[in-house]
Symmetry: C2
Subunit: 363 residues, 2 copies
């Protein structure tokens, strides 16, 4: 199990490589990954600062007692009368952060927290965490892999639970309820679902609703949840009785796009090349304009994290990275087809976490 100390050491190594002098995080997923916890976020500035000389929290005095249970890092406490500025200055002085700092800011932190630190270091150059904490989080260790694998199994089970009862006459929301119950029965938390029947499925992020399923519908089922602090995310297709006209060819095309991306994803390859592999199959089949989103995104303690597999992403894929491969074809007014795998990249290529085939399920 990787400790907070291990991860702080990894971070300092990458800060040295990237010439970053100060990393500043708000309470959120980046901090959770680094320390194993994060304080409750509210309007009182709470910042974790990491320089080459140390790590410390800017901490609202009111909350210090509770957070002290989780960490022995130094706190620079501030109270409501004094405000945070003086405590932050002391912190930066003690961490030996000079005016010309090269600052890497948590892109998810509140804009006023970011303004506070930028005001304290007006001459600093600012970047976000893409090349530091974000980069480290992409490569999963074995413990993280196991959690993601267990989550994938839970999502597979939830998908199958829905398939067992799915039939014409149910509403999209009824299907979602079965899935949510399955996640809960397995001790996990259902976090999202897109259940899109026929023309609804042509909206990639369709808002699941009260549409009643009927014979001949093609259903996009995109579901995910969390347990042990990590996510699942999977998309499969179901057809009721008979596929709509032209469906089989589209399904096969999307599946070929998945396979092309799986084939392209190797350590050392840029993410845009994996996107290009999937997109090429769909474009060659004449449906390029109907594949309206990126090919994939990283998955871990957040449902979307680095690496992003877009047409422009220069991120070089490495062993241990976990991401989705999820091309789709969306035919307005008719139906959509998306097939999504979560993979971990091994030295010889991607290992798929789900055990469910991508073949068409006719129920």
């Amino acid at each position: 199990m990787t400790t907070a100390e291990d991860r702080l050491n990894l971070l300092r190594q990458i800060m040295a490589q990237e010439n970053v002098t100060l990393v500043t995080l708000g309470p959120g997923a980046h901090m959770q990954w680094l320390l194993g916890f994060h304080p409750h976020a509210d309007e009182r500035p709470c910042l974790l600062c990491i320089s080459h000389n140390g790590s410390a929290f800017l901490m609202p005095a009111l909350n210090a007692e509770g957070i002290r249970e989780s960490t022995d890092l130094t706190f620079y406490e501030w109270d409501d009368a004094a405000g945070p500025n003086s405590a932050l200055q002391h912190l930066l002085t003690d961490l030996k952060v000079g005016g010309k700092a090269n600052l890497a800011l948590d892109e998810t932190m509140r804009a006023d927290f970011a303004a506070l630190i930028q005001k304290a270091l007006p001459q600093a150059r600012r970047q976000f965490l893409t090349s530091t904490v974000g980069a480290l989080r992409m490569r999963k260790d074995d413990d993280e892999y196991k959690r993601l694998k267990r989550n994938a199994k839970i999502a597979d089970n939830a998908m199958q639970a829905a398939w067992q009862v799915l039939k014409a006459g149910m509403r999209e929301n009824d299907v979602a309820a079965v899935i949510q119950k399955s996640f809960a029965d397995q001790g996990a938390e259902a976090k999202f679902h897109i259940i899109g029947a026929s023309k609804n499925g042509a909206y990639p992020h369709h808002q699941t609703g009260d549409t009643i399923l009927k014979e001949g519908d093609a259903l996009v089922m995109d579901i995910g949840g969390t347990s042990e602090g990590y996510f699942s995310d999977i998309t499969r297709m179901v057809v009721l009785s008979e596929p709509p006209e032209g469906y089989n060819l589209i399904h096969q095309t999307v599946d070929r796009a998945v396979k092309a991306a799986l084939q392209a994803a190797r350590p050392g390859v840029r993410a845009c090349n994996v996107d290009a592999a999937a997109r090429g199959v769909i474009t060659d089949a004449g449906y390029g304009e109907y594949f309206v989103h990126r090919t994939g995104h990283g998955l871990g303690s957040e449902v979307h994290e680095q690496p992003y597999l877009t047409s422009t992403s220069e991120t070089v894929l490495e062993e241990g990275m976990v991401f989705s491969i999820e091309p789709g074809i969306y035919l307005p007014g008719r139906f959509g087809v998306r097939l999504e795998e979560i993979v971990i990249l091994r030295s010889d290529g991607p290992e798929i976490l789900s055990e469910l085939p991508r073949t068409l399920n006719i129920l």
Copy 2:
């Protein structure tokens, strides 16, 4: 019931007064208040922009269908291949926002969203929403008052539910569980609780834990929840059998501080003067250094919002504002006493929302 259109009109009036040319909000509480909904927040920039010439969303194309159900505002959609910059430029051009804009940014939005809009308007001056949306939200309309009043009643009931079963031998967490169940039984959601027995209560934001209550304990009970999109927040004190030594005097002092603040809070008075009234009572009694936080905060669709009643706040209180009055004295190693009322300011002074007396409950 105030509509989104009403609130957009109010906002444009205050923008004119404050000489603000563009207000930009991320998905969150400010947008919820303004429009009655907000999109799910993720890493794809989604921004509501309001100028004197119109209102529009910068919108990830994937999510447009779902959000269209909630609003007929114009969307400037962007997809993963193009990214948001070009759509944002079109939006700003159509809203006639020039380079020298006076920009008011949602202080709670992600730092990278803020950077996106600031990069698109590099010559703009930037402020947060304190004097625009934040200022408007302070004054509650009658519908909001009624929701807050119903929430106050729910919290009163939850407090009394705990008092009915509270006894030595229970843990702090057991007390919290009773309160959570009462909120749930009333159709509300319990959102926070601080149950602090004796020396734990001397930490204003004590993390409720497994401390076992014993005879002679003084308990801080600070609880709150939500229903109908609005919050409750109340703090009362309980003593088991016999108060600790010196307790009664401290309790009376804090209650006198509450009364002094209630007396000071009038339309036209600055928030710092209300803080000073409460703080003066406690300081005169010799406990000034043990009142370690602000006197109060606004309450509405968020548990902490404007106005903040601090020693330095110049905010002028107005009729219809809702805020807490919650002085406290925290004696390290012994006990803490905090008494908290939520009030709405009427023309002749504060109306207290809770019906529970602040007198000491000896159980």
